[in-house]
Amino acid sequence: MPWHRKHLLTIEELKRSEIEQILATAGAFRRILDRKVKKVPALRGKTIVNLFLEPSTRTRISFEMAAKLLSADVISFDAAASSTTKGETLRDTAQNIQALHADMIVLRHAASGSPLYLSKVLGIPVVNAGDGAHEHPTQALLDVFTMREKLGDLKGRKVVILGDILFSRVARSNIHALTKLGADVTIVGPSTLVPHWFESMGVRVSHNLREALADADVVMLLRIQHERQGSSHFPSLGEYTSMFGLNYTRASWVKPGAIIMHPGPINRGVEIDSDIADSDRSVILQQVTNGIAVRMAVLYLCAGGQPEHVLTPVE
């Protein structure tokens, strides 16, 4: 089946088969990452603009790396230096970038829904690198890629997502990806950050860590944002850690062979203790590496590449 999407805006809109196509394509690129010469000419002559209107290090570098390994030219654009601070609208900024003959825009934005908005305004592909609390599709794709690498088929696997779900785009994209792949998802954390509304997205909502972690195959932690501390959402980081932080004892409640994930950046000693983050059950750094392969796949496909051209065995 050929790939036909020009944009990657959400996981919600993807069919399961499309997720499989991206993961398979990413698998081919992942093998390339282990070669001596990692660069492939797939996007030679194309220019990709990383329009990052919200601070990000990891995701931006990962997208840059992915684009460069595909031989694309990359321009990264960060909010502080841009004319958006002079009051230029997103539409105008993006149309200018298009007029500069960019072939694709990778957008990170604090406002939910802005990639969809941009995709309607522009003629070139738009890839969502995280929009507000809405979605972060490439993060979810690299997460399921990593889970499959470690656990195989995710059907019936129990995945626990733990932390600040309410404000998390990573959680939302993962919920969509995991439910489409047949996993059994439980979200856990304080009731203020894990509201019951999420049940409508096909997950179980729990505030009982012990019960939720029992028999988990995957524990995915989310970063607890310092700025929520002392607001109406939870009293203090200390109380959060005492109730929901993943420490050695709690990590023993999961299934043997279970993996521990985190999209980063991690707060050591808050949502996760160092000995767990650095343990051999942690796949945090593999997630980062796989992120390059997944983003290569997304850029390649949205630029018009077809999965079968990379799925033929390399060498």
Partner: protein
């Protein structure tokens, strides 16, 4: 002065329980029982066959943006939109630049409004600068000509200040119109809190934040006896609170907008800013409760909350776009569709909600065809289906969710004080 005969229309005047085909007579800007032979000779005749002839519509909730935001709307363009929508009386909200918290701004609005094609009444602010901190000079505002007080768009957060405001305004017989929103519960909120906001990753505005203020206002009205009007009710629980308050004889009234009876939060799935308003669209349960509230009189009238914004202001990221949509040119067909066609209201009931009942809340001289009353009339074809296109329409702004949709029910002629001001798509 001239006389006018409107012949053979279906004349509906809920105030006098009239609903039958016949003629309507106007002389010297007022309705009369009949014309003298001399008047008949010179009278202009309008053939209203197949049309409904009803009192000019009344909207006690519009934003005409003048002074200070005339790139969105002016008193003239807003009035033209009103006339095109069959409205002959409108009440303007005071959140202009500057806000209407002083007599000279009222005077400015009145001087511009004197040349408008419809009756335009100003309101004044409850608090100085709409800042919710100190009482605005209600007495001077009334002397200058405001018909009510409101900080619309903002809600007076201090219960003490609201208490004193209603007590003070009561001395002048001025009603307080409140935009019911506990701001501490809605910081940065852009849509209803619930399953849709959760899925879209947008900050939710829980209906409880409206209900709490509706309850507070009911308590303050009951405590002081002052009249408080709740603007644009959006929540089922608020409707319930109002129903009980009315049963208890509390001096409160409430309005509903066409958009809250037509849409729900489901419309926000593609982050279309033409469905972004405050209070936000809520659930089907809320929508149905609002319709039920209009049916049993719990909610008193329709108010459009006509809120023009320039295209470039609405055309941006959902979080950053301003709240509100225009509604004057679409209110009648939308209410005919949702209330008459889909909810089986009597046509005269819907006209009542858009005329007499709205006027009565602020005791405005409007909303009836009774002899002696000012001759404001709306003539519409209830069956005509037409394409609404914001380009070529009368409002200066185009922020309507009904743009380029077919609507059924079309205003043909609008008469203000006995003069035709709008006829067949054109201002006269």
């Amino acid at each position: 002065m001239s006389s006018l005969i409107i012949k053979n229309g279906r004349v509906i005047d809920p105030a006098s329980q009239r609903d039958k085909t016949g003629d309507l007579f106007i002389a010297d800007g007022k309705f009369v029982k009949s014309l003298t032979a001399a008047q008949k000779k010179t009278a202009k005749v309008i053939d209203a066959k197949g049309l409904v002839v009803c009192p000019g519509l009344v909207d006690i909730h519009v934003h005409f943006r003048e002074p200070g935001q005339t790139h969105k709307e002016t008193i003239l363009t807003g009035s033209q939109a009103a006339a095109a929508g069959g409205f002959t009386t409108v009440v303007c909200m005071p959140n202009t630049s500057p806000v209407v918290d002083n007599a000279s701004t009222v005077a400015l609005i009145k001087s511009v409004a004197a040349n408008a094609p419809v009756h335009v009444y100003p309101t004044g602010c409850i608090t100085v600068g709409m800042k919710g901190q100190a009482l605005a000079p209600h007495g001077s505002l009334q002397k200058a000509g405001v018909v009510a007080l409101t900080d619309d768009g903002l809600c007076v957060q201090s219960n003490e200040l609201m208490h004193r405001a209603v007590e003070y305004a009561k001395m002048f017989g001025l009603s307080i119109l409140d935009h019911c929103q506990d701001e501490s519960m809605t910081e940065k909120a852009v849509m209803n809190e619930g399953v849709v906001s959760t899925r879209l990753g947008l900050k939710g505005w829980p209906h409880a934040a409206e209900d709490i203020i509706v309850a507070r206002n009911i308590i303050l009205s009951r405590y002081t006896g002052a009249h408080i009007h709740m603007q644009h009710i959006s929540s089922a629980h608020s409707v319930e609170l109002m129903r009980q308050a009315k049963k208890d004889g509390v001096n409160v009234t409430a309005e509903a907008t066409p958009h809250h009876i037509a849409f729900t939060e489901e419309a926000l799935g593609t982050y279309d800013t033409h469905f972004k308003m405050n209070p936000p669209l809520r659930t089907e349960k809320d929508r149905k409760a609002i319709i039920a509230g209009l049916r049993d009189g719990t909610l008193d009238c329709i108010g459009t909350d006509h809120a023009p914004h320039a295209p470039e202001e609405k055309d941006r990221e959902f979080d950053y776009a301003p709240n509100g949509i225009i509604g004057l040119e679409t209110a009648l067909p939308v209410c005919l569709d949702i209330l008459v066609k889909k909810s089986k209201f009597q046509l005269s009931h819907v006209i009542d909600l858009m005329t007499r009942k709205a006027a009565d809340i602020l005791k405005l001289p409007a909303g009836t065809l009774a002899p002696g009353a000012v001759a404001d009339v709306c003539l519409f074809d209830p069956a005509e289906t037409w394409l609404y296109n914001t380009y070529g329409a009368f409002s200066k702004s185009i922020n309507s969710p009904w743009d380029k949709q077919n609507l059924t029910g079309r205003v043909k002629t609008t008469i203000v004080s006995g003069k035709v001001v709008y006829n067949n798509g054109k201002m006269v």
